[in-house]
Amino acid sequence: MVVIDYELKKKIMDVHIKDALKFCYQCNRCTDNCPISSIAPIRYDPRMLILASFLGFKERIFDSEDNFRLWGCTVCDTCDEVCPQKIELTEIFAILKNMSVAMGQGPPYYTTQATAIYENGKAIPSQPAIERRREQLGLPKIEPPNVEEVQKILNQTKLNKIIGK
């Protein structure tokens, strides 16, 4: 039995995408041009993801057994470019990924990076060895970001809750 999640449907239809999604007529151009679908057609299919979002078929998107269904997207934005209805698929997938992370289904890489940004202001923090190399290459010191400001705004947006800080 297919379970329709009206909350999901509403969120996807309402937030961020200005209703463009409803103009999808399932032409399959996104999937035809997707570099991931071409090598893993069963596991990743952007057209199906859009259909499932449109209809609120939560289980088709958030598969606890195989998160590749959603996270197989390599974020190349090709689907956005080829869509005849100008649907920003990648933007919709970002919202779905946000939900997936909130459910604890996202690949560890993502929360690890977000934690690094929260703690250091940078995805890749400065290291003494690289600082020496910069000096050898005649490069100026990188001005450190204001981590206190970063944490204040990320607490305000509740990112701290998402990454358990």
Partner: protein
């Protein structure tokens, strides 16, 4: 010539804190071409693939905060990275064109006494080099690279989403080819020129990422490319460090040099390869440099 008097340098986390030799080549090339930059305490852009997938609103707020740092000085940003330039351009665009979103973000920024105003622009360094133009670039060339066949790889986030970024043709980009051609090098036509490097999916699973990379490398090598030219540090790292893995997975042996556009220009401007740390590349450049008479 570039219109802005001085840009705020946005080297990004990967170039600044992992592969700074690319920044060295960029700074030397900018100096020759009269592109002035200065520093600012920017945080992570943040990553349009990583951080935006965790929380879109936090991504907007962090991007907006960086923009306010440049706004304080009234200077445009020059980015050395596709990812940073995509984030900063998209956030800038979204907030400039959506007043309700702008006030939500400014509500957050108020906590740190900042306000997004929308008074500056963001440029990818390729756009700036292209504005400088082939004629000006040619004036600085002391080492003619004529005959060197290269595969141009712009990467995805340089020009997409094209409706917002509007820098180049998103499916058939021209600017990289034009700047490369100014050095005498020949951009080859190869079937997989628009294929993603595969770094994004690599955060989820390695095998598909290596498969995409192998397809990309093979297509360029089959077309006669002797090196790749790239403009994004994520693509650079994927192409430069993963050739062995991609080869093992696809029964190929890859060993093709990967040059950042600013490295190619630096070599043609007669800058010593040691000064820009070319030895830190994983796919070795020595045979290429010897062929070019630079070693």
């Amino acid at each position: 010539m570039a219109k802005a008097e001085e840009y705020k340098m946005f080297q990004g986390c990967t170039i600044g804190n992992r592969i700074p030799f690319i920044e060295a080549s960029a700074r030397k090339v900018f100096e020759k071409l009269g592109i002035k930059t200065s520093e600012a305490p920017f945080a992570c852009c943040p990553d349009p693939v990583g951080f935006n997938s965790v929380d879109h609103f936090s991504w907007l707020a962090m991007g907006a905060r960086n923009l306010t740092i440049a706004e304080e000085e009234g200077k445009d940003i020059i980015s050395l990275c596709n990812g940073c330039s995509q984030t900063l351009k998209v956030v800038n665009h979204e907030l400039k064109h959506d007043d309700s979103l702008k006030s939500k973000i400014n509500e957050v920024l108020k906590k740190i006494n900042r306000e997004f105003k929308g008074t500056i622009n963001v440029k990818h360094f390729l756009e700036v080099l292209h504005e400088v133009g082939a004629e000006e670039i040619k004036k600085h060339i002391v080492k003619d690279l004529s005959g060197l066949k290269v595969a141009c790889h712009t990467g995805c986030h340089y020009s997409r989403p094209s409706e917002i970024l509007q820098v180049d043709d998103p499916m058939e980009p021209k600017k990289l080819r034009e700047v490369v051609a100014a050095t005498g090098a020949i951009p080859v036509d190869y079937e997989e020129e628009m294929l993603c490097c595969g770094a994004g999916v690599g955060n989820t699973e390695e095998a598909p990422s290596m498969q995409i990379l192998a397809n990309k490398l093979k297509s360029a090598i089959d077309a006669g490319a002797e090196a790749f030219v790239v403009i994004c540090p994520a693509c650079f790292q994927q192409l430069d460090t993963n050739q062995k893995k991609a080869g093992a997975q696809s029964n190929n042996t890859f060993n093709i040099p990967i040059l950042y556009l600013t490295e190619l220009l630096a070599l043609s401007f007669g800058i010593n390869p040691d000064e820009i740390g070319l030895k830190f590349h994983r796919a070795k450049l020595t045979p290429l440099l010897e062929k070019l008479g630079l070693k």
